[in-house]
Every structure is written in structure tokens, then in C-alpha cells.
């Protein structure tokens, strides 16, 4: 943890946003983001992810609470702070009649970059995002993939310390999505990132921290490992190979063991649910012993309960089930 508040990249305190006294978009959000963090922002539609990002970048004004970026309060006029941030909105839109070159030049001038810096930089970025052949074309006719690549180049034109990308893989084909994730992994080595995404496997792949929003409230903020660790690891899947008779015999043997709450065979996939009292290592060792004794081949074994998606769903479900107890913070409850 950062010792001083000024060491933090982003810090919010009791951040609340109420739109025109009609809609509570964000409620009492306090989070701290340290240098080098890759934070995945998770939440359903309308959970407040985009509102939080817009508050961090100063596009929205908090109804209560505050946001500090690089140790200073973010306001609508904090141009100095925004010069160190690269932002991609959910659906980036571009002014009409511009080409990638003119648009990137315009964006670089908005960061105050002098000509001798911005011209070489924009040329390198256009080459890097593979838009060289479309550099002179009007942006209006661009596909989703090209638009996303241009948005990436725009967010990197000022060589920012903090990247805030709102659903960067939204609408991309698998190849473009893979390129985007690889780019994020590379950038995460030297920059701090905040990524918002509906795609939990993307978050799982590239992030080391997660924040979960539910109906405007932050219900989890911490490392991704901790989030996964909240799941009970009592659900395992085993892919088997061998004679059907031997597998059936194995299932009967496992059902007779006290460590397993349920043993279900679906074709050649065995699902094991451990009891709460079972010691995981010894129960699984016993299961492996039975597999060997019955001359069945174990193709692979995995824990289902450690997937980020299940952890997220479990967290949201738990939050919903708390009812009026939500008045109290999760830690206190």
C-alpha cells in the first residue's frame, strides 16, 4: 500500500453522483489506486462504471466527495492532470471531415504538444496501430476495429502515466480483441490502467486488481486473487478417459466416500462437490487414488470455483441477498 496519499495515482473519497436529483448513479465510493495497478472495473449495465470514470477524469462534477488524481483534486479545469491521462470513452466519436492524421494532430495540440514532438509521435502511433494505409481517409467511414485502433492511438499520444479505457474490447472481432489485450499487457508493465469491461475473461487475463460496482455502490475493491479467493473452492471438474464400466465403478466408489457432497458424471466429465468440512488436498488425493485403482485415465482436473466470473456473480448475489442490511458496509456486516 502507498504510505502517503500523494503516492496514489487515483484516490476517491465518499464519491457520490446524483443526476438532477433524479438518479443516483454512484454512492459513497472510496477507492485508492497505487502506481502499477491494472484495475478492472466490473459491474452490470447502469452500475455506475462510466460515471465513475467520467468523475475521475473531471468530465462530471461530484455531488459529494472528491477525486484526487496524482495527489491533486480533479476538477473540470484540471488540464495539467489530464495531460497525464489517456482516455478512451465507450463509443469513441470523431469530428466530421477529419483523417487520422488531422485528428491525432488536433488531439496532440489539445495536450499542448509542440509541433516537433507531436508530428513524429503521431506518425509512430499511426504506424503502430496499423492505420498507415488509411491515414489520409475520412474517419467517418471507419469500421469498429479501425475506430478502436485510432482511439488507442489518441489515448497514447500524450504518453500518459494513467490510462482510463472504458470498454476497450467492445465491438471488436476476436483477432482485434486479442491484439488489444496483448497491448494492455504490454502497457501494464509501465503504466497504471483502469479498464471497464463487461467481459470478465478480459479482466481476468489482464488485470491484477478489481473493483465491483453494483447499483452505484462499490461492493468490492482489492486484488483479483482476493476476489477469486472469496469463492468456496469446493467444486471441481475432472475429465476422464477409459472404459465406461471402470468409470461407473469409480463413481460408485467416490459416492461412498464421506468427503463429497455430490458426485455427478456427465459423459466423461466428473463433477465433484466437496463438503464444507472436507480437507481439499486429502479429498482430492483420495479421489486420485480411486482413479488409479480403477485404471481410469485422468485427462485434466480444474477448480470451477476460482473463475472470476463466478466470484463476481457470487459477490453481486451476496450483496443483493443482504437486503436492508446493505445500510452497513460489507466489512462491518
Amino acid at each position: 500500500m502507498a504510505e502517503h496519499s500523494s503516492d496514489l495515482i487515483v484516490e476517491t473519497y465518499k464519491l457520490t453522483k446524483i443526476y438532477q436529483n433524479r438518479q443516483i448513479a454512484l454512492n459513497d465510493v472510496t477507492l485508492r489506486l497505487e502506481p502499477g495497478c491494472v484495475l478492472g472495473l466490473l459491474g452490470a449495465n447502469g452500475a455506475g462504471k462510466t460515471t465513475l470514470l467520467r468523475l475521475i477524469i473531471g468530465l462530471h462534477r461530484p455531488s459529494a466527495g472528491w477525486v484526487k488524481v496524482f495527489g491533486k483534486r480533479m476538477t473540470a479545469n484540471s488540464a495539467d492532470l489530464r495531460r497525464r491521462i489517456g482516455y478512451i470513452p465507450t463509443n469513441p466519436q470523431f469530428p466530421r471531415g477529419m483523417t487520422p492524421i488531422t485528428y491525432l494532430d488536433y488531439m496532440a495540440r489539445l495536450f499542448g504538444l509542440p509541433s516537433e514532438v507531436r508530428k513524429p509521435r503521431l506518425a509512430s502511433l499511426i504506424r503502430a496501430v496499423d492505420l498507415l494505409s488509411q491515414a489520409g481517409q475520412n474517419i467517418v467511414g471507419f469500421s469498429n476495429g479501425m475506430t478502436a485502433r485510432l482511439a488507442v492511438a489518441t489515448s497514447l499520444i500524450n504518453e500518459p502515466d494513467l490510462l482510463i479505457w472504458d470498454e476497450p474490447t467492445h465491438g471488436l472481432d476476436p483477432e482485434a480483441r486479442r491484439s488489444m489485450l496483448d497491448l494492455i499487457k504490454n502497457l501494464s508493465r509501465e503504466k497504471t490502467l483502469i479498464l471497464s469491461s463487461h467481459n470478465l475473461s478480459d479482466i481476468d487475463e489482464v488485470c491484477n486488481h478489481a473493483a465491483v460496482l453494483s447499483r452505484g455502490q462499490l461492493i468490492y475493491c482489492g486484488s483479483l486473487q482476493d476476489l477469486k479467493g472469496r469463492m468456496r473452492r469446493n467444486h471441481y471438474e475432472l475429465d476422464l478417459d477409459g472404459e465406461q464400466k471402470a468409470i461407473t465403478k469409480l463413481v460408485q466408489a467416490l459416492k461412498g466416500m464421506g468427503d463429497f457432497k455430490s458426485v455427478v458424471l456427465r459423459q466423461r466429465r466428473l463433477e465433484l462437490h466437496l463438503t464444507d468440512e472436507a480437507v481439499i488436498a486429502s479429498a482430492l488425493a483420495a479421489a486420485c487414488q480411486q482413479i488409479a485403482e480403477n485404471k481410469v485415465t485422468l485427462v485434466c482436473m480444474r477448480s470451477v470455483g476460482q473463475q472470476t466470473e463466478q466470484a463476481y456473480l457470487d459477490l453481486v448475489e451476496k450483496e443483493e441477498s443482504r437486503g436492508f442490511a446493505r445500510i452497513y458496509h460489507a466489512d462491518a456486516a
Binding site: 473540470a76 491521462i85 470523431f94 499542448g112
Partner: protein, 257 residues
């Protein structure tokens, strides 16, 4: 091989974002159909009116003072095309909300610079267009009609009308920064301007209201004017414009985009 020297820190030009917005908005305004309609309409109307006057002067021999033609055209610019100018200015910020504003305001620019860039671009486009057209009308009427214009009077007349236009443009941009809807902003500003104009016309005769200024244009163009009174109008117009900019900037820097 020697290692390449480390990059020196980039020197940021603090007013470059303002210039970027100014230039982009000026180009956008000059390309907009509203601006082109205003210029085309003004030029066609002026040409038609000038040909009518020239015909009456050359064919029927009726004396047609250039000052009458110019004062009519200047009055029409204010009264006739005010709605187009309002539409042109009120849409400048309010039409760029949402994702488009995200692309610009999320960069290294303050709201003040953004507002100033937009305001100055619209002022340049409208006043530049008006002054160019005004000079064109003056030159045409000077050569084609009965010449009764004085150079300093023409400058004062153009300056007076430009000051009134600048006030309208400034309040238009301010309303644009305040309102969410361009249509609502246009209606609101239109009502306010006509209401203010009516109220000012009720002032005692010693006060120079916009309406009285416009009616005195033929005499001003002939060189008969009170410089102090026109100076006061100019001063009030500048103050009103600065007030509009102040209100617009203050509100815009405190609102969500």
C-alpha cells in the same frame, strides 16, 4: 555505437489547446450550412436591393443616396438575419455534448480555454463575415450610387452594428454553454433579445438604445454623429459581451458534459 541521449522533457504550450479549439471551430463554422446560408442570403438580398436602387438611379434618374442603401442593409443584417446568427452561436457548445465532448474535454484542455476558443471562433466568423460584406456593400454603393458617404461615418456605423452583433454572438455562446438543448437555447435567447430590445426602446431619448442607433445610421454614414454616444454604445456592448462570457464560462466550468 553510443547510446542515444535521453529525451529532454517536453515543453508544453499552455495556450495551444485554445488555438486548436479556435481553429477547429472556425473551420467548422465556415463549413456549416447555417453560416453559408446567412452569407448567401445577405449577399443575394444586398445584390437585389443594390440593382433595384441602381436601376432607379440610372434609368429613372431618381437620386439614390448610398447612405440610405447601406443603412437599410445594416439594419436588415441585425433584424433579418438575427435568428440565423442565434442558431449559429447557440449550437456551438450544446450540440457537442456526450461522446463528442468526451473526445475533446478529456484531453489537456480546461473548460475556460474550450469556452474561449469557441467564443472567439464564432465572434471571428460572424464579425469577419459581416465586416467583409459591409465593406463590399460600401464599395459597391460608393461607385454605383449617389455618393454621400463619409469614411469615418462608415467606420462608426460598421463598428456600432458589429458591437451589437458581438453582444448577440456572446450571449448565444453563453446560452449554448448553459442549455442542454440547442432548440430551447435558440428560443430562450430570441425571446430575451427581443424583450431586452423592447425594454431599451422605452428608455428616455437621451439614452442610446440599439433601435435608435439603427435609425440614426443614415446620418452617421454621412458623417453626422455623436462620437461620445457611439462610444458609450460600444462600451456597453463590450461590457455585455464580457458579462456573457463570464456567465457562460462560470456555468460551463461547473456543469457535467
Amino acid at each position: 555505437m553510443e547510446a542515444s541521449p535521453s529525451n529532454p522533457p517536453v515543453r508544453i504550450h499552455r495556450w495551444l489547446p485554445y488555438w486548436a479549439v479556435f481553429q477547429a471551430d472556425l473551420m467548422q463554422t465556415l463549413r456549416s450550412w447555417v453560416y453559408r446560408t446567412w452569407v448567401l442570403m445577405s449577399l443575394v438580398a444586398a445584390l437585389g436591393y443594390l440593382l433595384y436602387r441602381v436601376g432607379a438611379y440610372r434609368e429613372a434618374g431618381i437620386v439614390q443616396p448610398a447612405s440610405d442603401l447601406i443603412s437599410d442593409l445594416l439594419r436588415w443584417t441585425i433584424v433579418g438575419s438575427i435568428t440565423l446568427i442565434i442558431v449559429l452561436t447557440v449550437s456551438c457548445i450544446s450540440s457537442e455534448r456526450g461522446s463528442m465532448a468526451d473526445s475533446i474535454l478529456s484531453r489537456g484542455i480546461s473548460r475556460y480555454q474550450y469556452f474561449l476558443g469557441k467564443w472567439h471562433a464564432r465572434l471571428t466568423a460572424v464579425l469577419g463575415g459581416f465586416l467583409l460584406m459591409g465593406c463590399l456593400w460600401l464599395a459597391a454603393s460608393y461607385f454605383l450610387l449617389h455618393e454621400d458617404l463619409s469614411l469615418d461615418g462608415a467606420a462608426v456605423a460598421l463598428g456600432t452594428v458589429a458591437a451589437l452583433l458581438a453582444t448577440v454572438v456572446s450571449w448565444g455562446v453563453a446560452v449554448s454553454a448553459i442549455s442542454n438543448s440547442s432548440l430551447l437555447g435558440v428560443a430562450f435567447l430570441w425571446i430575451c433579445l427581443y424583450g431586452a430590445s423592447s425594454l431599451l426602446s422605452l428608455l428616455p431619448p437621451r439614452f442610446a438604445s440599439p433601435e435608435r442607433m439603427l435609425h440614426s445610421l443614415p446620418w452617421v454614414l454621412r458623417g453626422s454623429y455623436d462620437l461620445a454616444s457611439h462610444g458609450r454604445v460600444l462600451l456597453w456592448a463590450v461590457l455585455a459581451s464580457c458579462l456573457a462570457a463570464g456567465v457562460g464560462m462560470w456555468y460551463f466550468s461547473r456543469r457535467d458534459v
